[in-house]
């Protein structure tokens, strides 16, 4: 665990991340562990709980004004759910918020998911440090993009 590794130096606020479980699947051990690692790295983590729709996730991201969205899917419906999520982000004009995906995603699906506009796919066995580092970089890039 890299304590404090997610803190932006000289920033007036911590990185804020939304961790969400999308679709009809309730296995949230993975999402909670990732949420905890991000918290331990010094980030503020909003956890939505299970069985969320893409619309709910986008609306929550907007109201909470998060820097990054992390989604966990184990149900197999990742392609259609992520498509809807990205479409919804565009519809609401917040497509600048980076999205990463974690879960049991078959390797052949990854190129298609990346084409949809997902920043990164993390498969089982990924180290928590790697996820923290990705979120940190993605948040900084996003804040620069919106001059925030």
């Amino acid at each position: 665990m890299i304590d404090g590794g997610g803190i932006i130096k000289n920033s007036s606020r911590p990185i804020k991340v939304l961790v969400a479980k999308l679709g009809l699947n309730g296995h949230d051990r993975g999402a909670k562990i990732v949420a905890r690692a991000l918290k331990d790295a010094g980030m503020e983590v909003i956890y939505t709980g299970i069985r969320q729709t893409p619309e709910q996730v986008v609306e929550t991201a907007i109201q909470e004004d998060v820097d990054v969205i992390g989604v966990s899917i184990l149900s197999g419906a990742h392609i259609s759910l992520m498509k809807r999520l990205i479409e919804n982000l565009k519809e609401k004009g917040v497509e600048y918020i980076p999205v990463f995906l974690g879960g049991t995603i078959p390797l052949p699906d990854i190129p298609e998911i990346e084409k949809i506009g997902i920043g990164k796919v993390f498969l089982p066995g990924t180290s928590l440090n790697e996820i923290v580092k990705y979120v940190y970089d993605a948040a900084i890039k996003k804040r620069m993009k919106v001059r925030d």
Binding site: S12, D40, G42, I46, E64, V94
Partner: protein, 321 residues
Amino acid sequence: MIEEYIYEYIEKAKKNDKGSIGRLLTFLESSPSQAFKVLNIILRNNVGKAHVIGFTGIPGSGKSTLISKLIHQYIKDNHKIAVIAIDPTSPLSRGAFLGDRIRMQEHSLNPNVFIRSVSTRGLKGGLSFAGVAMVELFDYLGYDKIFIETVGVGQAETDIMNIAHTVIVATMPGVGDEIQVLKAGVMEIADIYVLNKSDKEESLKTFEYLSFIIESGEIGSRVGWKPRLLKTSALMGQGIQELRKAIEEHLEYCTSQGYFNHKINLRRKTLVKLFLEKTLLDKLSEEFEELKSMDIEDFSSQLDILRKKIENFLREFDKYT
């Protein structure tokens, strides 16, 4: 930060553009100088109209779930509802796990409901400056029922009584006897006590402890209002209508006694106090970080260095805002 856009965000936020509201809330929880710029605009000629309802009480007593059930009641009557859910910041990592929202996610797509999670960022008293500043923004934008849920640390958390018109303290069965209830602090401040999870065993006993103490006037009595004690089970949806009724009765009491505006006044004074507190504490922590790397061991010289830094800072305070 894009401060020149604050006016634009405010105009859009008035039309209930959730993205703009979200951004303004972020300004309020960023540096004090950014928050100052927003507050300076929204507090100009603004009398304050919203009914602010504070929820506090021990962790796990069901505050978030109770609020979620109350939202169901209130949206039927076309209220605009804001929820400010405060959770603690980790003293170890400075991160936070903000989980109150989970219990309210069913309302996330309702255009008349806005939910925002806030962390305490290390301030004591359970209420952060940002939380109170957010009340002002929601009030300005026409949200007329504003719920603040505090961290629920227990006995020390009494700031809420300076912020909310109606204070609700939630507790649950089996958390202690009447001695616990009599202890000074959070148990003294409620206008309405809620014994949640009353479907559980032991609820009768806890209810009796509480009602004895309230009946005998040992806690929470004020002129013209005797604290209510209600049994609810948020999960089973029991007692929620009664809770709403009690909240509305308390609002009527506040209005008829002139406490409504008095509370708004008090809230704005508290905001000033919390603003200064945050500004000074931020500065102090910053200087302390620097002190840590210095090679001075003597207590009074260390104190002297910090004191001088703070004095200089105060002298230039007007530049800061």
